[in-house]
Symmetry: C2
Subunit: 118 residues, 2 copies
DNA sequence: GGCATTACATCATATTATGATGTATATTGC
DNA sequence: GCAATATACATCATAATATGATGTAATGCC
């Protein structure tokens, strides 16, 4: 059992999990689900804590959409699913990366300056 | 009738509308709904295009939660609701601002560097 | 043996932005 | 004067998606 709470509010994290998974697999090659949870945690400085109830359905959705592939491996009797990013997944990642960095920049400007209408 | 499409994908915008409204009213004092839509558009460089179907229910929710107050005014026969941020709203904005700027920074780091696990 | 960790999974629920739709007044161009 | 557009409010069904709760089972450690 895993019980953790994200530092960022639930709403702020919406729409960001898929790109994070794509980026993770793009950088690291093969990874399995449980490994991703821990890596995202480390990677974000303990600030993004993905829950299993979020991760597994998202991995299935990305696979269904052809952005990921996976292979099963047996460690003793236990099965592990190693996921990899597909060609289509890499293309999608590039698109989303541009959007995210631009969005982040927009938000940064919005909340850092004082915008007065005249 | 207003028909516009946001530059950013739907998911990415989730959870950001409330803080934007709070920031807007914090900077500008009194504003009415329709004015907010146009200001957010200008303010974000045409990148965040809030829909009426999103804005009005959100204004009601923020008011219900005590973060906004409003006064009705008549421009001829037409009613306008001028919203202002409350003390509680300002407190909430400060909290959310810190969270958003930190989140933005985390995302920027995540998507700009290559993170390899060893 | 007992406990924590690893590793997968599903499902009901909550949140929230959107598109569609509706109503009505005011303004601007011709 | 009239038509088109802009102003200004609103509601509702729908879609997307992260979470908490819950479940199963193997492995590693003391």
């Amino acid at each position: 059992m895993m019980y953790i709470a994200s530092m960022y509010s639930r709403e702020l994290l919406k729409g960001i999990l898929k790109p994070i998974i794509l980026k993770l697999l793009s950088d690291n090659g093969r990874m399995h689900g449980y490994e991703m949870v821990r890596t995202i945690k480390d990677w974000s400085g303990e600030k993004i804590l993905v829950k299993e109830g979020s991760l597994y359905p998202t991995l299935h959705a990305l696979t269904r959409d052809g952005l990921l592939t996976y292979e099963e491996e047996f460690i003793g009797k236990r099965v592990r699913k190693y996921y990899s990013i597909s060609k289509a997944g890499k293309t999608r990642l590039e698109e989303r990366k541009i959007e995210i960095l631009d969005f982040v920049d927009t938000l940064s400007n919005m909340f850092n300056s004082k915008h007065l209408t005249t």
